[in-house]
């Protein structure tokens, strides 16, 4: 599916970033779709060089562009703008609170090109805009699961309906951890390297607990019990305990779970009465933090045992030699 973004979506972006934009012309064009992630500085174009003109990107007029335009005669400006607007321009933004001249505004109105002024300097504006546009174009998938932040590790709890994901999350919240989303987690791939999870804005921080109904976690447990998004660093699948299934007893080899072609550490947690799942999840989070700084409990213990065996063997050989 081809992705696109409307100018509207940039103004009302999900990250709640205020780009400090004032619309000066072309309000009819706000529904226009942006299909390019990149932006364009039209300096060369304004100087009359229209080869390789990236007209389908947002055009950013910085101090250089506005200063250059001021050196041009009225006739020359009209000529350049005429050619500039003959392309299907998506949108124009003037930075540093510099306003476009009247001729430009007239053209923008005529061709319905949304034109804005921002008080941000160019570099700052471009970095904010890129952040918004990249997030909007990022690959995403919805996953049935519950996302919690346990000791700073984003853990995605997955498993069949009724296995106790929400109940586990509830107890984790009670123990001071945070809920990001219950049941419906939207996962986005950021910078091709990390997975960011968030919930649907409409039902944010609500959960359904069978027997009670719908709860507002933020109201009940307070603001410290929730957060809006979190990087997913561990996937924990809750599974009904099955005597015939082989569960990992060592944890020497790290299992991985693939989301949007990225691999995340993965554990299977068997569930049965008497097993305190929240404590297991907490411990898994702590273990994950150790692994992040390079300490692998299972491997360290195995190494210790192997070294001990080597020493014992040497002792045995020596004693045999002496006798």
């Amino acid at each position: 599916m081809k992705k696109y973004l409307r100018i509207h979506d940039i103004l009302e972006n999900t990250q709640k970033i205020d780009l400090q934009l004032t619309l000066v012309a072309g309000s009819e064009g706000l529904d226009k779709a942006i299909t390019a992630i990149e932006i364009n500085r039209p300096g060369l174009t304004l100087a009359g060089f229209f080869d390789y003109f990236a007209y389908d990107r947002i055009q950013i007029f910085g101090l250089g562009e506005t200063a250059y335009i001021k050196t041009l005669s009225r006739e020359r400006r009209e000529e350049i703008y005429h050619k500039f607007f003959s392309y299907d321009i998506v949108s124009c933004v003037y930075t540093h609170n510099e306003y476009p001249d009247e001729i430009f505004i007239d053209f923008a109105k005529k061709y319905k090109v949304p034109t804005f002024v921002t008080r941000y300097p160019t570099t700052r504006f471009i970095s904010l805009l890129t952040h918004i546009v990249e997030a909007a174009f990022a690959e995403s998938v919805t996953i049935h699961g519950t996302l919690v932040d346990v000791f700073g590790i984003g853990i995605l709890l997955i498993g069949k309906s009724g296995v106790g994901k929400s109940e586990t999350a509830l107890e984790l919240i009670e123990r001071g951890h945070r809920l990001i989303a219950d049941d419906l987690v939207e996962v986005k791939k950021i910078d091709e390297s990390l997975l960011m999870g968030n919930g649907s804005e409409l039902i944010r921080h609500h959960m359904e607990i069978r027997g009670i109904g719908i709860l507002n976690v933020r109201d009940i447990f307070g603001i410290r019990s929730v957060r809006n998004r979190k990087r997913i660093e561990l996937v924990a699948e809750l599974q009904e305990w099955d005597a015939n299934t082989h569960y990992d007893r060592l944890g020497i080899e790290e299992q991985l779970y693939t989301i949007l072609d990225l691999e995340v550490p993965y554990i299977i947690v068997p569930v049965r009465p008497g097993r305190n799942i929240p404590i297991i999840i907490e411990t898994a989070a702590l273990n994950q933090r150790l692994k992040k700084i390079g300490i692998f409990s299972a491997q360290e213990l195995d190494k210790k045992i192997q070294e001990w065996i080597v020493r014992e063997n040497e002792d045995y050989e020596r004693e045999k030699g002496e006798n």
Partner: protein
């Protein structure tokens, strides 16, 4: 796997009560049921998941069922939506 696309006609969209009716019906079927709106895919057996789709009047919703009784499930749920939850809401 069975699928059917329906259009939401109710002015109120799918708020808490219709969602609970939808989920209650979905729970009666053994198969996996998904409701898909745009790029979002919700678990048809979870209230929060269905509410999270923010289904409004005029939205198109795809009902997807996979497994035992999938055909019955899709027919039942699409009929429910097309009849505006009338038969169940009145009970």
């Amino acid at each position: 796997m069975k699928e059917k696309k329906v259009k939401i006609k109710s002015d109120a969209g799918v708020h808490a009560r219709p969602a609970s009716i939808l989920v209650r019906e979905a729970m009666k079927f053994p198969c996996d049921i998904y409701l898909i709106k745009g790029q979002m895919e919700a678990n048809g057996k979870s209230i929060m998941s269905v509410l999270g789709l923010a289904i409004t009047k005029g939205s198109f919703l795809t009902i997807r069922a996979d497994g035992e009784m999938e055909e019955e499930a899709v027919n039942r749920l699409s009929a429910l939506i097309e009849n505006d939850f009338a038969e169940l809401a009145s009970k």
